[in-house]
């Protein structure tokens, strides 16, 4: 009888802990969010202090996404200017400004993700969340939500083996790729010239794929939280 009571208390305790672990602030947002729960004690926090504030993995994700989404907004404006060039002409001064803003933001996203990766590499995984990721029914989720299988399979490739840091590294590479393309475009635009159309296509596709990739990751972590 005593043993049963102890077991019940133990179960309640474990259950409460799991619920706390999965209820993260900043969890339920746009890009890569929630993946910080896969580290340490599950709150996405490490033990590093910076300027008296605890810097968390989840905070890096939110900050990085903020910069990335801002860069994306400027990139859409660049694409619009390129699209309308035959109708409205190109204002190279304006285009240079928008490009500078896009580069500034993607550069900050890269720096943030660089810090995120360093932090993630020095923080042990939360094995409970990793186990949930490994047991997640990716195929069903893909079909149920009508997701793009090519992008989702890339996400699944990382998550089903519990490689959350791999996702950050992949996102970091996408950002550096976008940065390189923007720098190339800037090189031409600063001479009042437009580069060939293929660079704009690649930029557009890379940024669209990155957005979908980040969104799918946030979706999976959100589903884990919801199904807890």
């Amino acid at each position: 009888m005593k043993k049963n009571k102890k077991q019940l208390i133990f179960r309640v305790l474990i259950g409460s802990l799991i619920i706390i672990l999965l209820n993260l602030n900043g969890f339920a947002l746009i890009s890569n969010n929630g993946s910080g729960s896969g580290y340490d004690d599950g709150d996405g926090k490490g033990d590093v202090k910076d300027d008296g504030k605890s810097i968390t993995i989840e905070n890096y994700i939110i900050e990085g996404s903020g910069y990335y989404l801002n860069a994306n907004s400027y990139i859409q404006t660049i694409l619009k200017m390129v699209e309308l060039q035959y109708k409205q002409g190109i204002d190279f001064i304006e285009l240079n400004k928008v490009l500078d803003n896009a580069i500034f933001n993607i550069n900050n996203a890269i720096i943030t993700y660089d810090n995120l990766i360093k932090k993630a590499e020095n923080t042990p995984y939360n094995e409970y969340v990793i186990a949930l990721l490994k047991d997640f029914d990716y195929s069903n989720f893909l079909i149920e939500n009508g997701l793009n299988s090519v992008v989702f399979e890339e996400v699944e490739g990382y998550l089903q083996v519990g490689d959350i840091t791999g996702i950050y590294i992949s996102t970091y590479r996408k950002f550096t790729n976008i940065h390189e393309m923007l720098i190339f475009i800037k090189g031409e635009v600063s001479k009042d010239k437009l580069p060939g159309i293929s660079i704009f296509w690649r930029l557009n596709e890379t940024i669209a794929k990155s957005s979908i990739f980040g969104s799918y990751i946030a979706r999976v972590f959100y589903a884990l939280q919801k199904n807890k």
Binding site: G26, N59, Q76, E83, I197, F200, W201, N204, K209, R219
Partner: protein, 229 residues
């Protein structure tokens, strides 16, 4: 001899017109561009001039629609930035409402533009030279060569390999209507100073991205047809 000369002049003339039709303004750009070339017929009479004029209108609508679409996506990304950072910086609902209104304004214009585009496309006959090139295009090779997203590219291929350019416009139009619905649902929440449901933000973010890639794959194919003429 005279007959051969006449045939040669006729062929030369037709070839010249085809070349001119390939060089429509606003061809080599971002979103669906170049597809206007699939309309109108070769020839030099007044009917043909009318058709060529429709082809030019189609191209203009495509550029205008894409401009509105890209603007809407830009505003939406600005809104997402605010929402993403809301846990750190808080939410400025006045600003968020302005951004969603701007996104909606532009997507509504994109919708109207695509509607007009479909109307013109439906009364303009296809350019059979371009349709024949679309039917003979090596889609698999192109997709692998450029490592494109197979799900989205196959979707585009299904329209183009059947010469169904109007179907592409209709698909974009339906996508834009769906995007407008999602934006309206976000606006309804924001106007009450409430955060929209996360699932709608994801859905919209993905819808914008998918449609953009779809339209761009169309522009890529038409650009390649022009390059390989």
């Amino acid at each position: 001899m005279i007959k051969s000369k006449k045939q040669f002049i006729l062929k030369f003339f037709i070839g010249l017109i085809i070349l001119m039709m390939f060089y429509t303004t606003g061809f080599s750009l971002i979103f669906l561009n170049g597809s206007g070339r699939g309309y109108g017929e070769e020839g030099g009479d007044s009917v043909c001039d009318e058709l060529k004029s429709n082809s030019s209108i189609i191209t203009t609508y495509i550029i205008e629609g894409a401009g509105y679409y890209l603007d809407a996506y830009s505003y939406f990304n600005s809104l997402l930035t605010r929402i993403e950072l809301s846990d750190i910086r808080g939410v400025n609902y006045i600003e968020c409402n302005q951004l969603i209104n701007s996104a909606l304004y532009n997507i509504k214009y994109a919708k109207v533009t695509y509607y007009l585009l479909i109307e013109v496309a439906e009364i303009t006959p296809y350019n059979q030279t371009v349709i024949s090139k679309l039917k003979n295009f090596d889609y698999d090779f192109y997709m692998n060569e450029h490592t494109l997203n197979s799900v989205i590219f196959k979707d585009m291929e299904n329209y183009l390999k059947n010469g169904d350019i109007r179907g592409v416009y209709r698909k974009i139009y339906l996508d834009v209507i769906e995007i407008e619905k999602l934006l309206t649902s976000i606006k309804d929440k924001l106007s009450l100073d409430k955060m929209p449901d996360l699932s709608i933000l994801w859905e919209l973010n993905e819808a914008f991205g998918d449609t953009l890639i779809f339209g761009q794959y169309g522009a890529r194919v038409f650009y390649t047809l022009q390059k390989n003429k």
